[in-house]
């Protein structure tokens, strides 16, 4: 026979009392949230006004102005150049970086940690900030954009390549080591081929990411279509801005479609 009293004593409570940290965390969150709303001056008046302004923007943007279509396309071409050159170099540099950063291929723990820190730095600093830094270094224009994309891609691919390399089964690598092959031969013969499909997948994601980055890079003067968009906007030529936005949209969607098709074929 079960003891009724014992059962009720041992029964877990419906809700466990949250810890002090939970209350503290909630309080901090709430303070920042409310302060944020006040500081940004979000009022119902401004929301209404905003909707009205958006309406007038679209009214002035239609129909899209294609008078400067030629130079817009030329700027788009520059963006494509930035993407193609920047991403290619970025992916290329990511291979050695990833191999140095992976614990199963790195020659020394110190080198591994140094490269890991470098990759983390590339990744955590936003691409726009890189662009601003490179504009100081090489001046306005697409070269700064290319450098920003290279660094951004290295942060992205460096990490994903290295994660894939570390996941590789040790067996085939050991088999080639056991033949008396050098470290480089082992990497070329087993690490790269085994990780290759994943490298392709990550690289395609990097391409998609770079396109979105490259479009925005122009806003800070690092070349490409962003420069045109910035100019049209500041000159209130909204109909021209819409043309630019539509071209960007078409291109980004096109590349993403192509990329997902290639990915399906490969993996």
């Amino acid at each position: 026979m079960l003891n009724q009293n014992e059962l009720s004593v041992n029964m877990p409570a419906r809700l466990k009392k949250p810890s002090l940290w939970f209350w503290l965390g909630s309080l901090v969150f709430l303070i920042f949230f409310l302060q944020g709303i006040v500081a940004a001056g979000i009022t119902s008046d401004r929301v209404m006004q905003g909707i009205f302004n958006l309406g007038s923007f679209f009214a002035r943007a239609f129909p899209p102005d294609i008078e400067r279509f030629g130079s817009i396309v030329q700027a788009m071409l520059e963006t494509i150049n930035i993407v193609v050159v920047g991403t290619s170099f970025g992916i290329l540099f990511s291979f050695p970086l990833a191999l140095l950063a992976s614990n199963n291929t790195s020659p020394h723990p110190i080198i591994r940690n140094a490269t890991r820190t470098l990759i983390a730095l590339f990744r955590t600093v936003p691409d726009l900030v890189w662009a601003l830094i490179f504009i100081i270094a090489v001046g306005l224009g697409p070269f700064a954009g290319i450098l920003a994309i290279i660094v951004d891609v290295m942060g992205f691919c460096g990490r994903f390549f290295s994660e894939r390399v570390e996941e590789l089964k040790p067996g085939p690598i050991e088999a080639l080591r056991a033949t008396g092959a050098s470290r480089v031969s082992v990497i070329l013969g087993s690490v790269i081929p085994a990780a290759f499909p994943s490298f392709v997948g990550s690289s395609l994601f990097a391409v998609e990411k770079s396109i979105r980055s490259a479009v925005v890079l122009g806003l800070v003067g690092a070349g490409g279509i962003g420069v045109e968009l910035n100019t049209s906007m500041t000159l209130f030529k909204y109909d021209e801005a819409l043309t630019i936005i539509l071209i960007i949209l078409a291109f980004v969607i096109g590349v993403e479609q192509a990329s997902s098709r290639i990915r399906k074929k490969f993996i």
């Binding site: 085939p172 080591r177 033949t179 092959a181 082992v186 087993s190």
Partner: protein, 256 residues
């Protein structure tokens, strides 16, 4: 003179676990040794130490009078060239062709390194040799197939061809047929031994099947909890005595 000379080999893992205790063994050129032992007895570790995939804690491993334990990286690569290894899980590079995998057997041999082992850039003699190796294991018709589309038995044949490509003096095999069904296992075992005999290779092979051990081994060596407890010619041993190796736990407890 002995081809392999192991002296007081001890292997201790960083976590303090002792895998091998003071193991000494001499193997003459052309000998066929079957290594036996229960799971965790240290036989795989022993084999891995012999080719330097595992670094011995103390002791000596002389291959052709060169010590693996104290050798530099370059010397180790030189010694490894003489040793072909066949693994339980085949360890082929799966998304490459059988042919390319066999060519990789050449990786350590040529001074030109990687490029003489890549299908695209290898010399025609090397490519022909790889085809001959594949033909020797009856896999020539599968040369262009990715190895992950092959059966277990076929993959192990490709791995044996890769070992052949290496032209080793010594063959180390770690449970080469444990992943295969009985029929494929028998075929692969026959093939491996044929090749070993035909080339007069020295072999050390871990086997789990006692029938195979008695049938193929000339000399049986048994490990128990990292110590060498059996070393005898296969002719004067019976299956009952071998079973004793696998009851290690009980026996050791009784005598402790």
């Amino acid at each position: 003179m002995s081809l392999i000379k192991v002296q007081n080999l001890t292997k201790q893992y960083p976590d303090g676990e002792t895998a091998l205790k003071d193991v000494s063994l001499e193997v003459k050129s052309g000998e066929g040794i079957v290594l036996l032992g229960a799971n965790g007895s240290g036989k795989s570790t022993f084999l891995r130490c012999l080719v330097g995939l595992e670094k011995a804690t103390s002791g000596k491993i002389l291959i052709d009078n060169q010590d693996i334990v104290s050798s530099s990286k370059k010397q180790l690569q030189e010694i490894r060239k003489k040793i072909g290894v066949v693994f339980q899980k085949f360890n082929l590079v799966n998304n490459l062709s059988a042919f390319q995998n066999v060519l990789f057997g050449n990786l350590g041999q040529s001074n030109k390194g990687f490029w003489s082992s890549l299908n695209l850039t290898a010399s025609s003699e090397e490519r022909e040799k790889a085809m001959e190796c594949l033909a020797r294991v009856s896999m020539a018709e599968f040369a262009d197939r990715r190895t992950d589309t092959l059966s277990g038995g076929q993959r192990q044949r490709v791995a044996i061809a890769r070992m052949l490509m290496q032209d080793p003096e010594i063959v180390l095999a770690d449970e080469p047929v444990a992943s295969l069904d009985p029929r494929a296992g028998r075929e692969v075992m026959n093939l491996l031994w044929e090749i070993i005999e035909e080339k007069g290779l020295t072999v050390m092979c871990i086997l789990h099947q006692l029938d195979f051990a008695l049938e193929y081994g000339e000399r049986l060596v048994g490990l128990q909890k990292g110590s060498l407890t059996l070393d005898r010619s296969a002719a004067n041993i019976n299956k009952k005595e071998l079973n004793w190796l696998y009851e290690a736990e009980k026996v050791v407890k009784n005598y402790a």
